[in-house]
């Protein structure tokens, strides 16, 4: 699976921050039924805990990562996206090292 950065460089899915931001924004829109500001706390935008948990579950399933929300400073889509990218990159690095 690949995604393309604006530079044209092929990267594995989940390592391109703009792609992850857009995908998680889409998940948020679907779960919450409206657009949200990715740089503003989701709870401050009226999101309930239940909806947030559903969103996190979808994000985890989409990227094959376990999202530990306790590691987030705020429930913001931009922070969540960066966490996903970091985890995917770490998993890929660990995978490469295991395969050496």
């Amino acid at each position: 699976m690949t995604s393309t950065r604006s530079t044209g460089t092929d990267l594995p899915t989940g390592t391109d921050i703009s792609e992850v931001l857009s995908t998680i924004g889409g998940i948020a829109h679907r779960v919450l039924g409206r657009d949200v500001d990715p740089a503003v706390d989701l709870f401050d935008q009226g999101t309930t805990s239940l909806a947030f948990i559903r969103m996190i579950a979808e994000v985890g399933a989409r990227y094959g990562v376990t999202v530990d929300v306790a590691e987030l400073e705020e429930a913001r889509i931009d922070l969540l996206s960066q966490m996903v990218v970091d985890q995917v990159v770490a998993q890929e690095r660990d995978g490469r090292e295991d395969g050496r």
Binding site: F43, G46, S49, I53, D68, L72, E74, A75
Partner: protein, 315 residues
């Protein structure tokens, strides 16, 4: 009952006298508003991890209440430090004396559209569980109740469900907690009382009235409007209630209450499970927390650290 040990946030003698007269003190600042907002944004995420919580959720959730969210100060570092905050403990100890336990903490969320909370008084807290949850020693039984410190984690305004008090009402109990209340979750958000949509988490607190025809003197009620980070402390035996959250454009109101008693009070005497508000939790991992002074009594099970190993800072 007074404390002679002066600390940084110890109220003045006049303030303590006013507390005894009115039944409440505050609001006062525990956190600056922006600090509270920042902390809560982070902590509400951390609290989603229930792996260290002392109560299982299995049988705890019913209606609009989840009693498994009692006592999260026993696993959350933030809440552990919160219930021990000097801004709170110094004020509580000034009334209860130097040796103080925190025996319970609870969240009180109110979402847009939620009903207000019935006028009520709590002495032994037997009203929902059927058994006294706190028992004062015979020589001090005239006091009863607990001191509750209710901190606004989010704004508590007139239109988002702020607390309401009837000052000076703490000396006469108008309710009999040994009477049975009937749990009716289908009535939540559906009952008007004297023109206000109110309930008691699935119960109707009026069922406990000693005199069924008595009405709370609401003309004397005062509203506790609070910014995030402000708190108010009050006797649980003082008549209190909260307004409905009537503003769909404002976020949920969230109060966090710590409940305090002197170490001489027995907590959960002869009790292994709490069964109330349609849910049940086991007290197997429960312990009261010494927040001030020393405890020379042996009647309460206590913990000195959270389930994650954070030591409670004793004042």
């Amino acid at each position: 009952m007074t404390n002679t040990l002066d600390q940084r946030f110890t109220p003045t003698a006049d303030e303590v006298a006013r507390f005894h007269e009115q039944g409440y003190l505050g609001p006062f600042t525990v956190y600056e508003e922006e600090e509270m907002k920042r902390l809560w944004r982070r902590e509400r995420l951390r609290l989603m991890d229930r792996s260290g919580a002392v109560y299982d959720e299995d049988d705890a959730q019913a209606g609009n209440t989840n009693i498994a969210n009692y006592d999260r100060h026993l696993d959350s570092t933030f809440l552990a430090d919160h219930v021990c905050r000097p801004e709170i403990v110094d004020r509580v100890a000034a009334v209860l004396g130097p040796n103080v336990l925190c025996w319970r903490s609870e969240f009180f969320p109110k979402y847009p559209g939620d009903e207000g909370t019935d006028w009520h008084q709590a002495d032994t807290f037997a009203f929902a569980s059927g058994k006294p949850q706190i028992l004062w020693p015979a020589e001090e039984r005239e006091f009863g109740g607990t001191i509750t410190v209710w901190t606004a984690f989010t704004e508590a305004a007139e239109d988002t469900g702020c607390l309401q008090f009837i000052p000076g009402s703490q000396r006469t109990m108008h309710y009999d907690e040994t009477k049975a209340m009937h749990y009716q979750p289908d009535k939540i958000n559906g009952r008007g009382k004297d023109g206000v949509n109110r309930g008691f988490y699935g119960y109707d607190y009026r069922e406990l009235q000693k005199d069924p025809d008595w009405r709370p003197p609401e003309d004397r009620a005062v509203s506790m409007v609070m910014k995030p980070g402000e708190a108010v402390m009050f006797w649980s035996t003082m008549m209190h209630a909260s307004k409905p959250h009537s503003n769909p454009d404002k976020p949920m109101r969230l109060g966090f209450a710590g409940r305090y008693v002197p170490t001489s009070v027995e907590v959960y005497p002869d009790t292994d499970d709490v069964d109330e508000y349609g849910g049940q939790v086991s007290l197997q991992k429960y312990g009261a927390v010494l927040v001030s002074g020393v405890d020379t009594h042996t009647h309460n099970r206590k913990v000195t650290a959270t389930t994650r190993g954070h030591v409670f800072p004793v004042r």
